[in-house]
């Protein structure tokens, strides 16, 4: 009878055994809660952030580089026999900073390292390196921040900063950690994957006191950090810097393109800011100052501000008219009726050259009327529809109303009205030429940025095609060429000879027309003025040009906001930049000084310490131009 108890006892043993096995099964196989904890407990994943790629200009001058700095960390437990006074003197910190930072570190952990002092320069580090032995518990880790030897083009270069929360959460594979730096705007953002390099990961073993116990699994799972690739930009640093100085006291932007390649030689937005302001310790402080500035120095006007092209658009209209055959270079509109009471002088309407030279509005009203009416429809409403459709197709080939594909984030299409657009405004088939005629001269429902204007200049310089404008031509460590497939050739399908006719007029503009101030004594510059109307204030001054006339090397567009007539404010800047690019120096120094000292500000504003352009201009730009009335004269 008692022998049965052996079975009961065995049963008890096995029951416990099975309970324990189930528990093991649960802990080790089913529940993963402790498994992930385990991997972060003794194995420390140490990320090694490589140096970010540098950015060079087209002549291999350094524009963006990195400064090595040293961040000081403290392990409070290891701080022993510290001569606080000496320490504070050596590192130039006050007692209050020392105490509060050390206390915060102690609060975090006695055994783990906390950041104590950020971004000690290499020189400072060298100075204190020997003395460090006296200060147990303090260690240094190498880090870097961006520095800008070129001190220019802040808007297009962009800046890096701590990864925004949304972006952190949305990243597909976990690459960035909280607080990691990432390119936030401009090229830094566009080429983030190139510039950042590849992070290294080292798995280190830690004991319970967070002391380093060597590599995990002999470094089998470690990856080496790969330094970020450099960008070789298309920018000509000297031209860019000259643009900076010429734009002092002005609001606006400039884009210069090498027509044959689409390479952007200069891209400026003004007022700008010193790029170093958004690098390093003072980032957030400076950022809030800049973002509150009414002139929006953080805005890249060259790509995001849209203006009416004004009279520069007449060049496009002329080319279309010639291609369609509705005009010839010798077409005269002298005495031709214009429904809008605008009567042209006999000279300016005598032929296309003269019309371009003097920017004749009545002439181009007639051109556009003929372009729109160039079809079999007799009903003016139907005719306008058909005509506009064809016109829209051709204008689009110049890059209007479409993205050009520049390698900067956030490019917008701009505005080029089509049939649907006018249907929406006026009702279907409720509009005809007389409703949309202001488009003839680049006013009305058009919106272009300076990049597109420069691209138009390049297209004309190329006699009919443009290459995708771009800022980077090489990636790597020796300026390896980028993949050319993204640099497309866009053909306007307009005969080159028609462009020659337009260029004849453009040459006259600079020689003896509205844009004489862009002229150079020994180089034939072809240009066109534009005056962009806007509701807010004085007209924006526009000038587009290219040079030399034969085999052009540079195409350029300049907008100076609220500066009035394009010939007086923008043309000189164009001329000087062309001179700089083609001759590598400015011979007309007095003229340069004169242009630099010009101020266009419609509204008196305070001075800002942080900007390259010190004068504020409260007039703001509009992303899309307001549809408005057309002024009587439009040069």
């Amino acid at each position: 009878m008692l022998e049965n108890r052996k079975q009961i006892i065995l049963f008890f043993f096995y029951t416990i055994g099975i309970i324990y096995l189930s528990r093991l099964l649960f802990l080790q196989v089913i529940d993963s809660k402790y498994q992930s904890l385990g991997s972060t407990n003794s194995i420390k994943r140490e990320v090694q952030i490589p140096l970010r790629g540098q950015i060079y200009d087209r002549t291999r001058k350094l524009m963006v580089a990195n400064v090595e700095v040293y961040d000081m960390y403290v392990v409070p437990k290891n701080v022993k026999d510290l001569d606080t006074l000496k320490f504070c003197n050596l590192f130039g910190i006050d007692r209050h900073y020392f105490d509060s930072t050390l206390n915060a570190a102690k609060k975090f952990s006695m055994k783990r390292a906390s950041l104590f002092l950020r971004q000690l320069s290499k020189e400072d580090f060298a100075r204190v390196a020997d003395a460090l032995i006296q200060f147990q518990g303090f260690t240094f880790e190498q880090s870097f921040f961006r520095t800008y030897p070129g001190n220019t083009m802040s808007n297009a270069l962009g800046y890096i900063g701590e990864i925004p929360k949304s972006q952190f959460e949305e990243q597909e594979e976990e690459y960035y950690r909280k607080g990691d730096y990432i390119g936030l705007t401009g090229l830094e953002k566009q080429y983030e994957l190139t510039l950042r390099g590849q992070r290294g990961v080292r798995f280190k073993l830690m004991n319970v006191n967070a002391e380093d116990k060597g590599r995990y699994a002999d470094g089998e799972f470690d990856t080496l950090a790969v330094i970020g690739k450099n960008l070789y930009s298309t920018i000509d640093l000297e031209v860019q810097q000259l643009a900076d100085s010429l734009f002092q006291g002005k609001v606006g932007s400039v884009v210069a393109i090498e027509p044959s390649t689409g390479e952007i030689l200069a891209l400026g937005s003004y007022p700008t800011y010193a790029p170093s302001l958004l690098s390093g310790r003072e980032f957030s402080k400076n950022f809030s100052v800049l973002s509150r500035d009414p002139d929006k120095p953080l805005l890249n006007r060259a790509t995001t501000s849209f203006y009416r092209p004004g009279s520069t658009f007449k060049l496009v209209q002329a080319a279309i008219g010639l291609e369609m055959g509705v005009i010839t270079p010798s077409t005269s509109f002298v005495g031709a009726p214009t429904a809008f009471r605008y009567h042209s002088g006999a000279y300016e309407a005598a032929n296309l050259n003269n019309a371009i030279q003097l920017s004749s509005n009545p002439y181009f009203f007639n051109v556009f009327r003929k372009v729109i009416g160039n079809n079999a429809e007799t009903n003016p409403f139907k005719s306008a529809r058909t005509g506009l459709k064809t016109w829209h197709e051709i204008v689009e080939r110049f890059g209007f109303g479409v993205k050009l594909g520049i390698d900067l984030p956030g490019e917008k299409k701009g505005l080029l009205p089509d049939v649907e657009y006018y249907d929406k405004i006026y009702g279907k088939s409720q509009w005809k030429y007389s409703n949309i005629y202001s488009v003839s001269i680049g006013e009305g429902e058009l919106g272009v940025n300076v990049l597109k204007l420069a691209n138009v200049a390049a297209t004309i310089a190329n006699r009919g095609y443009w290459k995708t404008p771009h800022l980077v031509k090489g990636i790597g460590f020796n300026g390896e060429k980028i993949d050319d497939s993204k640099i497309e050739k866009h053909d306007t399908q307009i005969d080159a000879k028609h462009f020659e006719a337009v260029i004849n007029g453009m040459a006259l503009v600079v020689k003896a027309g509205t844009g004489r101030q862009a002229g150079l004594p020994d180089i034939e510059v072809c240009g066109k003025t534009g005056t962009s109307q806007n509701k807010k204030g004085e007209d924006h001054a526009i000038f587009i040009a290219f040079a030399p006339r034969v085999n052009p090397k540079i195409a350029i567009a300049v907008v100076v906001e609220n500066a009035g007539f394009g010939g007086s404010a923008s043309a000189p800047i164009c001329g000087l930049l062309i001179e700089k690019y083609l001759k590598r120096k400015i011979e007309r120094t007095a003229y340069k000084e004169q242009v630099m000292s010009k101020r266009y500000s419609t509204v008196a504003a305070g001075h800002s310490k942080t900007k390259i352009a010190p004068v504020k201009n409260a007039a703001t730009t509009r992303a899309t131009p307001p549809a408005g009335e057309v002024k009587k004269t439009n040069q």
Binding site: L2, F12, Y14, L21, L24, L27, N209
Partner: protein, 425 residues
Amino acid sequence: MSKEIDIKQGIDWTTIWLYIILLAIGWFNIYAAVYNPEDRSIPWYSMSHNAGRQLLFIGTSLFLILIILFVDYKIYDTFAYIFYGFIILCLIATLFLATDIKGSRSWIKIGTFSLQPAEFAKTITALALAKFLSTQGTNIAKMRDTFRACLLVFTPPIIVILQKETGSALVFAAFVIVLYREGLPGVYPAFGIAFIVLFVLSLIYPKGFIVLGLALLAVLFWYLFLKRYERTRQNLYRIIGMYCLFSVFVFGVDFFINNVLQPHHQKRIKVLVDPDIDPLGAAWNVTQSRIAISSGGFAGKGYLQGTQTKFDFVPEQSTDFIFCTVGEEWGFVGGFVVLAIYLILLTRLLNLAEKQKSKFARIYGYSVASIFFFHLLVNIGMTIGLMPVIGIPLPFISYGGSSLWSFTILLFIFLKLDAHRSYKV
């Protein structure tokens, strides 16, 4: 000469193989626990770490085995009470002579080695209990003999508790299993288990709920399990009496934990229920050991590839928490194998015990199995968070001279007795 042949033929080789396998598992895991991937210059046999010293202990254990096998088996029976008296004296002497190691006064230093008499007290108490129960005329079912047996079994642990070595003292509870086998009425262990279950429940759930639940159980029992004719007034009083006893116990547990136990013991029990109340303090061991075991996954990280059981994340990783190393480096498979080997060993011991012709040998055999079982129950239980942290070793696997020697002696005395089972004492 003939005696030697007897031993070789009569001894149970199955158990010896299990013993050797456990020693090997133990040594390799101790080596893994002390293994430092940074510094491999220290050889495996170096006396500077636990693995090297464990080799020495294993060697001396072999020596002890030889002594046990050659000494006449009759002395254990004959001198059981004398041994018992001696060990009681030793335990009392230890109280005064011991050096303080981590708050416990249970270690006696002899030269460079420390001995823990409490470890050997288990073996000797087992012998004494076997002697007492096998004596003609003893009947455990009788109140008087139950009391005597309890006195015999529970005197050493009381002294051990005075040495502040609560873990070793608790092991003596294992003898309840032996007493049960030898005729202790089933109600005692049944009550014991009921109290343990209630104890745990009262830690987890509010006292009111438990008392209410007990009342519900009593009513169900009365109407569903008792036949109509059994529902007598007397049985009603019994059930009410038991209900009151359990309820008082539930409230007593609360009082006991908060007012009787020392603070560090209180915490050990509380963190068992909820390790998150103090993961870096009292629950450190529990949390770290669970992390280590969990991180092993199904197949483990591989031998010497563990990371949690090195670098001191798990305290006492080569002694009390050696099972963590098994769990981390060998995974579920390793844990399964170790548990299986122990269960095979326990089964084997019980089978052998039942085969004994002498009552003395049978009772001793049950004692051996019960002591091993209790160690497993508590040691593995605490590493996987099912038992409070009680510092007792895992037989043959944990590092430690005293524990290995005492387990070896415990086991081989039984094997020696078993080898001579044909002779009736």
